[in-house]
Each structure stands twice: as C-alpha cells, then as structure tokens.
C-alpha cells in the first residue's frame, strides 16, 4: 500500500469522527496522527478505556488494535465480553491480549485465522476504518464494565 494513499484514507476516516458523533458515543479522540488513531471510550457505569488503532498500510492491512488505560499505558488484561472478541491470551505475534475479530490485524495474523484473509472483508460494509471503530466500540460496550 502506498503511504500517500494510506494517509489519505486515514485522513478521510478521521474527518468522519465529528464532535457530535463523539459526544453521542462517549468517544474522545486522543491521537489522530497517521498512522495512529487513539480513542477514549466512556459510558455510564463503565470504566473508561482507550483503544489505539495503528493504521500503517491501511487499507492494504487492517488496523492493529491495542487497549490502553486512561493514561495511555497498555493493558495487560482486557475486559471480557460474551462474544469472545476480547482475548486475554498471548498473541503469537504481539505477545499481548488482542481482539479476535475479523477486521483487526491480530485476528488475521493469528495462527488460528491466517486462512481467513483481510481481503475477504476489506470491501465489505462496516469494514472501513470508521466501521471498524464502531464495531470495536460495540464490543467494548458489551464487555464487563
């Protein structure tokens, strides 16, 4: 993926994260500088969290996702939800807890899913960058508070 194209796609996606949408969803944009997009998620009766999406090679590659505390420090354990997307086992590539869901780099690079290519998803509805952020936010909303 040519970096200029990745930068353009990233910038277009960031434009969609308007203040009204962020206020409605409890999102705070902490970092939006290519290739890093770092969002804070908060909701009533839940402990807030940050999510860092590293979008180098977007959208030739899906974003790499990491969960952080409110100070920006990587979490060693992540909240658990009913769907199994949030996985506290050690990822074979990153050695960190990871998101096991199509559209996230750690899913496609995990030995269990290397046969399920990002190419199967990248043109689908909901797998643009904003769509993936929305999916990740919904996963977090369903996880333990």
């Amino acid at each position: 993926m040519h970096e200029a194209v990745s930068r353009h796609l990233f910038a277009e996606a960031v434009k969609g994260l308007g203040p009204e949408l962020c206020a409605a969803r409890g999102w705070v944009v902490h970092v939006a500088e290519f290739p890093t997009l770092e969002l804070g998620f908060s909701a009533s009766a839940r402990q807030s969290i940050r999510m860092r999406a590293t979008c180098n090679e977007w959208n030739g590659l899906p974003p790499s996702v990491e969960w952080l505390d409110n100070e920006g420090k990587a979490l060693t354990t992540i909240p658990q939800g009913p769907g199994g997307q949030l996985n506290n086992s050690v990822h074979p590539v990153t050695a960190r807890p990871f998101v096991c869901m199509a559209g996230v780099r750690e899913y496609h690079t995990h030995s269990s899913h290397v046969d399920d290519s990002w190419e199967n998803y990248r043109e689908r509805s909901g797998y643009d960058l904003g769509g993936l952020l929305t999916q990740l936010w919904r996963v977090w909303l369903e996880a333990s508070p």
């Binding site: 009204e20 949408l21 769907g83 996985n87 096991c100 909901g126 904003g130 952020l133």
Partner: protein, 92 residues
C-alpha cells in the same frame, strides 16, 4: 370538521461517514418509516452499503421497519446513531 395534521419529528443521523443532514435537522412526518430516513442518509453520505447496520437512539435500538411514532417518537428531536454491528469472536 377538522383535518388531521401530520406531526413531525426533527431527525439527524450520525455515522462515521458524517451526519445527515449536514447541518440542523430533517423534519420528517412521524408516520415515516425509520428505514426511509436511513436510506436518505446513506445516499447523501455516499455510504455504499448499510447491510447489517443498526440504528439506535441513546441505548435504544430502533425497529427500522416501523415508523418514528411506532418507535416512540412523536415530536421533538431524534438523534440516530447508525453504524455496523460488531463481528463475532474468532475463538482463537
């Protein structure tokens, strides 16, 4: 004999591709189906497909095949959050 007047709701649809309408609210008869408004939003925001997306107001999911009135909105402002559902877990 009095003629029944349409009641209207003032609607905005928020997505990660932008908002519709671009400013303010769209005045919509309360008997309008929610799906019609979502289709208009997708068209204006150049969203190619909204297959599998969900629409919510606050934490309340909307029945998009029903009218605003049937969803409990008979007047006032309605801010719809419209986006994809999350995918399933991979069980790695």
């Amino acid at each position: 004999m009095s003629e029944k007047q349409d009641k209207h709701v003032e609607v905005v649809v928020l997505t990660t591709s932008g908002r519709w309408p671009s400013t303010g609210f769209e005045s919509v008869p309360d008997h309008q189906k929610v799906q019609h408004v979502l289709n208009e939003a997708a068209r204006h925001l150049h969203i190619a497909s909204t297959e599998g997306w969900i629409a919510t107001v606050g934490t309340k999911p909307l029945n998009v095949g029903e009218s605003f009135e049937a969803n409990g909105f008979k007047h006032g402002e309605v801010q719809i959050d419209f986006g994809p559902r999350h995918g399933g877990g991979g069980n790695a």
